[in-house]
Symmetry: C2
């Protein structure tokens, strides 16, 4: 693991690292925000942030305003990349497939299966790396935006004992029934749709038996609301299983980082409550 | 003036506009953040933010976290571009000259003088446009980063009656004695160095007779501190004239937007006090 940048920020540190990922079979970069509390020897809980299509580890760290609140609350934030990277990694011309669009699943289909194992990377390899190398407490929560909202919800729903809480902004809530999800799942998981529902937040929530506290923020002026995101399907799924989902709709807000920034404080405070020792 | 984007943000609106600039002789883009208070019919004061080398109207709006605080305080923020733009605008291969590097002066030398009149654009044309088209009160403050910190300080020092307060992050404080400034001033203002001090914050502050309240933030780990920024020269100038300058140094902070974000709240509260009706 190599430290490739460090910026003091709100009394703590924003740092980028590169490392060899055995799971992804390539070199990866992630960013971590370490709040000022770590300088006193405390361990801190970690929020994992999964970004959306086309993003890297940088978008959330630069645009969300989260570090101001994380510094106050004493929460570390880890922002991984959104796909495997490198010249030998399979890619596609579309912004919604290949690099920058890993969809947080383990690909089973060629040529994707050689590198695109983002589910295992996020659930297993990256937390192990973080917990071995930084002063963190082992308390984990997970959040994300759009494709990353899909990632956060599905990962928490499949691993309820690994996360204290989950949240999402504008998540792709029902990928098996939207163009982004169908395109990606066909390529990564194959034509056999029987494998798809295990990576669909609405399907998982409808059948959930163990609950992770969940909060979702959605803008009503989001240009992808009806065709790609489908929050009503997620709400119906939560109602069917009695899942403790708080889904808040906001008039006028769109799909941009301005929406995330406007409500990230509430999400961080939500996670902080659930990650208290 | 054409509205080219709108994003709801912290209950207000981030908007980008394009317009024809008569002063710059080209089409320009700027961004404005309108806080939620304007929706009740109030007029609000305006902070003009001047960005640094290579930036556009977008960097500060996306990365500073300022909108959260501006929404609370009821301050509009206007972020202009950093140079004239367009295919027929003179440019240079260096990042520190030409497009993205207007240095907030009126160029007198060819080929720059046809478009590079950023001083008049920031002092006269843009505020007139803003005050004719948005619900603003006429109270103005000005701030900026690096090259934009130079711009904010020199513009306020030359126009003490037009601004309620001025601030800067990591400003180029003595451009006539640093490589960035000498390169730009030679090109834009010419070899006759007698014209240079009127665009040098330290020179202006040393000779100031009318005072605008001024605050400067500087990181001690800034990679440009000694060679390009020279805050000690600015402090000496303020001491010589008795200028009310508050210059704060911060251990560990660098030249990045993480530094701006860490202290933008203090700057906005400083300006809000001085822009009270």
């Amino acid at each position: 693991m190599e430290n490739i940048s460090s910026n003091k920020s709100f009394g703590g540190w924003h740092k980028q690292y590169s490392h060899r990922s055995a799971v992804l079979n390539c070199d990866m970069r992630f960013a971590i925000y370490l709040p000022p509390q770590v300088s006193t020897g405390d361990t801190v809980p970690v929020l994992y942030w999964l970004s959306g299509l086309t993003c890297t580890d940088e978008n959330f760290m630069q645009k969300s305003g989260a570090q101001a609140i994380a510094a106050e609350l004493g929460i570390a934030i880890v922002a991984p990349d959104t796909s495997p990277r490198g010249d030998d990694v399979a890619d596609d011309e579309g912004y919604d497939l290949g690099k920058g669009a890993g969809f947080y699943v383990n690909a089973t289909q060629a040529p994707w299966n050689r590198h695109y194992q983002m589910y295992d990377y996020i659930v297993e390899e990256l937390p192990a790396l973080i917990e071995a190398n930084f002063p963190v407490s082992g308390m984990r929560s997970i959040s994300g935006h759009s494709m990353g909202g899909h990632g956060a919800l599905t990962i928490a729903l499949k691993n309820p004992l690994r996360y204290q809480s989950v949240s999402a902004f504008s998540p792709i809530s029902n990928p098996i029934n939207c163009p982004w999800g169908q395109k990606a799942f066909t390529q990564y998981l194959g034509d056999d749709k029987s494998q798809w529902p295990q990576h669909d937040a609405s399907e998982l929530m409808r059948n959930a038996q163990q609950f992770v506290p969940a909060r979702v923020e959605q803008g009503n002026a989001d240009q992808f609301l009806e065709e790609q995101l489908k929050p009503d399907t997620l709400t119906a799924a939560a109602n069917a299983s009695g899942y403790p989902l708080e889904l808040n709709s906001h008039d006028g807000y769109d799909h941009s980082y301005y929406f995330i920034a406007s409500f990230i404080e509430e999400h961080l405070r939500f996670h902080a409550v659930h990650m208290q020792p």
